[in-house]
């Protein structure tokens, strides 16, 4: 396929707009050829995962671009970074790591990225509209933008998202194009009782199951008994993007490109149909729960980052209770949401419970947990999926109420509820 360049594309590549643009465009051109693009298209926003300190290479890359004078040309938010500058000292973060992670954050700030530092940028004012072409990094944000908002983004890996932001251009491929947004796999729920579907753990568990089966394909889900709220869509999408590489799902009657099943499939025949029954979902729930026994060191909520609505759900559960002395209780969220939560009076009850808040990062992206943290508990399928590999912990997976009750008791307590066999 021949790759067409606009006059501006050529100018970018040849350095007419500066050496940073030239470097970014060189990378974009090579990627466009690898992906078989025939042209580039404009984006109107970007979300940058590259600010995450992952070692010297990501820092050197950020500082190379910033030192060359890179500046974003579209409104750009920043994903979680490698450290919470407001209180990393309270955790096990090595000072040298904190310094380098902050240098990397500074590099992206110099390039003009808004200091949102959240994996849930759709909780900020930069929430793209239906049909808007954007370049987003962060798998859980990508699936949310495409599926729930109907914006259009490919799965931008770290390092490429910033190239899009400083040039405003991306290869015209994949989910940017209408024809690639059709559903591929029909997902059917069979005999899953409504009380299971209404249970808080249903969405992360179901997402974990779907992702493991569809890989990178586009699932079309119909027949849900209970319409999900935004936080449930967030947690389901993040789960699908962890166990699989799902960047777009259609939920018939709920998400904007799926008013009907036929429209979700663009009138095409599904490649495959997969059936979720209660047994398969129970197995998926067990798969997320890797803890043995009742030992508990840390309860952590907020992957993707906790929303204001989730703070509002959590706080009434904390009343007249206190976390056990041996267990830390942590909420991870964006700094914007933390400010709103404080203004809404939601942080004091958390503080009285003995809970803490970390912003700008999460337990997976900064080395904040010490060696003594062996068992963590969460209601997040994403935390449950990644923590064993990244942190070497086991994970107790439960509902929000289970998490609060366990923090209070100092040991893992899980109510089976409608999941009981």
């Amino acid at each position: 396929m021949t790759l067409a360049f606009s006059e501006r594309d050529r100018g970018l590549l040849e350095g007419e707009l500066g050496p940073a643009c030239a470097m970014a465009m060189r990378i974009l051109v090579r990627m466009a050829r690898i992906q078989g693009a025939s042209s580039f298209l404009d984006v109107t926003g970007a979300h940058i995962d590259s600010a995450l300190y992952m070692g010297e290479a990501t820092l050197e890359y950020a500082e190379r671009l910033a030192d060359l004078g890179a500046t974003v040309v579209v409104p750009t938010t920043s994903n979680v970074a490698g450290v919470d500058p407001h209180g990393w000292e309270r955790w096990a973060v090595p000072p040298q790591w904190a310094a380098k992670a902050q240098r990397q954050m500074d590099a992206y700030r110099r390039m003009g990225c808004a200091p949102t530092w959240t994996c849930a940028p759709y909780q900020t004012e930069r929430r793209p509209g239906f049909g808007e072409q954007v370049a987003w990094g962060e798998s859980s944000a990508i699936v949310f933008a495409n599926s729930v908002l109907g914006a259009r983004t490919e799965r931008y890996p770290d390092l490429l998202d910033i190239c899009a932001a400083v040039t405003g251009r991306v290869p015209a491929v994949g989910l940017h194009l209408d024809e690639n947004r059709a559903g591929q796999v029909r997902v059917v729920l069979r005999d899953v009782p409504p009380e299971v579907q209404a249970h808080e753990s249903f969405y992360p568990v179901f997402g974990h199951w779907v992702g493991g089966r569809v890989g990178g394909r586009i699932p079309v889900i119909s027949g849900l008994a209970v319409a999900p709220n935004e936080d449930q869509l967030k947690s389901m999408g993040a789960a699908m993007a962890s166990s699989g590489a799902v960047a777009l799902f259609h939920l018939v009657g709920v998400t904007p490109e799926a008013p009907t099943e036929v429209e979700a499939f663009h009138g095409r025949v599904p490649e495959e149909e997969i059936v979720a029954d209660l047994d398969s979902l129970r197995a998926a729930r067990r798969d997320l729960h890797t803890a043995l026994g009742q030992r508990l060191d840390l309860v952590v909520l907020g992957s993707p980052h906790f929303s204001l609505t989730e703070f509002r759900r959590l706080v009434p559960m904390l009343e007249r209770r206190h976390a056990h002395a041996a267990v830390r209780f942590l909420v991870t969220c964006g700094r914007g949401v933390k400010l709103l939560a404080r203004e809404a009076g939601l942080l004091e009850p958390l503080d009285r419970f003995g809970g803490e808040v970390t912003v700008d990062t999460c337990i997976l992206t900064t080395p904040m947990l010490g060696e003594d943290v062996r068992v963590i508990m969460t209601n997040s399928a994403k935390y449950a999926y990644y923590a064993p590999g990244l942190l070497g912990t086991t994970v107790a997976f439960g509902s929000l109420e289970d998490c609060v009750a366990s923090a209070e008791a100092g040991r893992v307590l899980r109510k089976e509820g409608p999941w009981a066999e």
Binding site: D49, M54, S139
Partner: protein
């Protein structure tokens, strides 16, 4: 006489090594330790294997968009696979190699096979990857 498979070059380069073949996609974030080259996704069939210096065959990456940063760091530290073979175009892996070329002049060869060709690969077989994407398999 060995067998020959003609792949599509995503990032060109020569490499030799023993194949390490995964039947499941791998996220490098949470799945690959750039300081050792070990596969650390405890749910993955290759968990515990060291891919450094070998020809890693993974059908695709999954999940996290941080895979690219991890592979780039592994390349910088000399702990990346000698080359990666995939069953389809994987932009996350390709980008790591393209940026490694831009930053350090050390691209990692990356070759794409069809799923049917990919299914013929077996762990432990010695492979030579040519500049044009040809795989020569020993035995």
């Amino acid at each position: 006489m060995g067998r020959v498979i003609r792949g599509r070059v995503l990032v060109t380069g020569e490499a030799t090594g023993d194949l390490l073949v995964a039947t499941e996609p791998l996220s490098f974030w949470g799945g690959y330790d750039p300081a050792t080259g070990e596969i650390i996704d405890r749910r993955h069939p290759l968990s515990g294997q060291v891919a450094r210096g070998r020809i890693l065959a993974v059908p695709a990456t999954r999940g996290s968009s941080t895979t690219t940063a991890i592979l780039l760091e592994a390349i910088r530290q000399g702990n990346a696979p000698a080359a990666i073979v995939t069953a389809g175009t994987d932009g996350f892996l390709a980008l790591a190699s393209v940026v490694a070329d831009e930053m350090y002049g050390t691209p990692m060869p990356l070759v794409e096979l069809t799923p049917a060709e990919f299914d013929r690969l077996r762990s432990g077989v010695a492979v030579r990857i040519e500049l044009d994407g040809t795989l020569e398999l020993a035995g």
